[in-house]
């Protein structure tokens, strides 16, 4: 069934901003910066999505989550298209998303050299354990003051 009143693209963006990232649910898909476009092609809603990492298993889940969330709002005629270029970069992360990551204990992307500080005690005395972590987008770091290991959302 096609919704009788076509929701505005602003409304769609607000709905998309309620869908949590499947692997880091403290941020939304809009925060993550993977939604690159929302538009209507007559009665069909077209959502353009870019993958974070080539092999990230969350990519397919993200597409299913978008379809499920919008069909709940009555948008049935929907197409999710993938766009590779411009390729996803951590610069696409929203300010709201960065703050949410920090509060959750994941250090948000800072520079290629590493995080600004420990997300827990805020010490700048931190060291890298490994450039690879529990998901493709994260690296493993450790705080040398509070001694806690933490995830760093690495820059790409």
């Amino acid at each position: 069934m096609v919704a009788l009143v076509r929701p505005s693209t602003e409304q769609i963006w607000r709905w998309l901003d309620q869908i949590p990232d499947p692997e880091i649910p403290v941020i939304t898909l809009v925060d993550l910066g993977v939604i690159r476009g929302v538009s209507w092609a007559e009665d069909m809603l077209v959502i353009t999505v870019t993958p974070t990492y080539s092999g990230c298993p969350a990519t397919r889940v993200i597409q299913m989550d978008i379809e499920a969330a919008l069909s709940e709002k009555g948008v049935m005629n929907l197409k999710v298209v993938q766009q590779l270029s411009p390729s996803w970069t951590t610069d696409f992360l929203s300010k709201k998303g960065r703050d949410a990551l920090e509060n959750f204990g994941i250090s948000p992307p800072h520079t290629a050299a590493g995080p600004q500080h420990c997300p827990l005690c805020k010490s700048r005395n931190v060291e890298k354990i490994s450039q690879f972590g529990s998901t493709p987008c994260k690296a493993l770091w450790r705080c040398c003051d509070c001694c806690e290991p933490f995830d760093y959302f690495k820059c790409i």
Binding site: P51, Y53, S54, G55, C56, P57, L84, S85, P86, S87, W88, T89, I129, S130, Q131, F132, G133, S134, P136, L140, K154, I156
Partner: protein
């Protein structure tokens, strides 16, 4: 060979390199010496399989015969694969796996840098995406080669043996392939003239820091790009393809 056939060949070469290396690296999952390395290897394999999906997906699209990335992966036999012989080499020990990774990463990073400037938009987009991931692979494999090469007597000896063993498989990366000339003329593929020199300069820097010596014999095996593989690929495919061979078209 038409331009389309040449492009299909070349995209299979790119896709098969990452597919076969991904499978090899994934064999380490749960077996690496420490958990951080296990995670790093699994992440590397994941990036490579993602890249393989994109390259082989595009290859199938260019071929236009109704196949997709899965069909190319699971329903071709070894003579249809176009990967470098280097990536089908068995893993050996951890050091040898990382040596193979470094030799490949150093080549792939340069190749992707060139392909990101291709006039073929899809090729440029895939390369532009993959290059960011490969930068992390190269940083890690290079650091590990230095750490183990300039490490203990035991680790140094193993890394030198790994380099001696794998070096004859590197020349194939730079074999000029006449089949691709039409693609270079069409600006789909960039010119590769300086690839070998730039690669050699990168690996030489790392091997100097790693106190490893590049073999003087420049004999190079070849054949992978045209489908003449070692026995190792057949064994790998047996494992990788068994489910789709037994139950063709099975869906998850």
């Amino acid at each position: 060979m038409t331009q389309r056939e040449a492009l299909f060949e070349f995209l299979q070469h790119l896709g098969d390199n990452t597919l076969i290396l991904s499978h090899r690296v994934s064999e380490w999952c749960g077996h690496a010496p420490v958990i951080e390395e296990d995670i790093a290897l699994a992440n590397t394999a994941l990036d490579l399989i993602g890249q393989a999906q994109m390259w082989l997906g595009l290859a199938a699209e260019i071929e236009g015969a109704g196949r997709d990335a899965d069909a190319l992966t699971y329903h071709r036999d070894s003579w249809d694969f176009r990967n470098l012989l280097l990536v089908e080499r068995p893993n050996g020990d951890f050091g040898k796996t990382l040596m193979r990774q470094f030799l490949f990463d150093a080549w792939q990073a340069l190749m992707l840098e060139k392909l990101a400037r291709s006039e073929h938009k899809q090729i440029a987009a895939i390369a532009g995406k993959a290059i960011k991931e490969v930068a992390y692979h190269l940083e890690r494999s290079g650091d590990t080669v230095i750490g183990l090469g300039d490490g203990t007597e035991e680790s140094h000896a193993r890394m030198q043996a790994a380099l001696d063993d794998l070096w004859p498989y590197c020349g194939e990366m730079f074999n000029l392939d006449e089949r691709y000339n039409a693609l270079i003329l069409a600006n789909i593929l960039p010119r590769m003239d300086d690839l070998r020199a730039r690669w050699l300069s990168k690996v030489t820097d790392i091997f100097d820091d790693a106190t490893l010596v590049i073999p003087t014999d420049n004999f190079a095996h070849s054949g992978g790009k045209s489908g003449r593989h070692t026995e190792h690929l057949g064994h790998l495919l047996c494992e990788m393809q068994v489910l789709q061979r037994s139950y063709p078209g099975a869906k998850w």
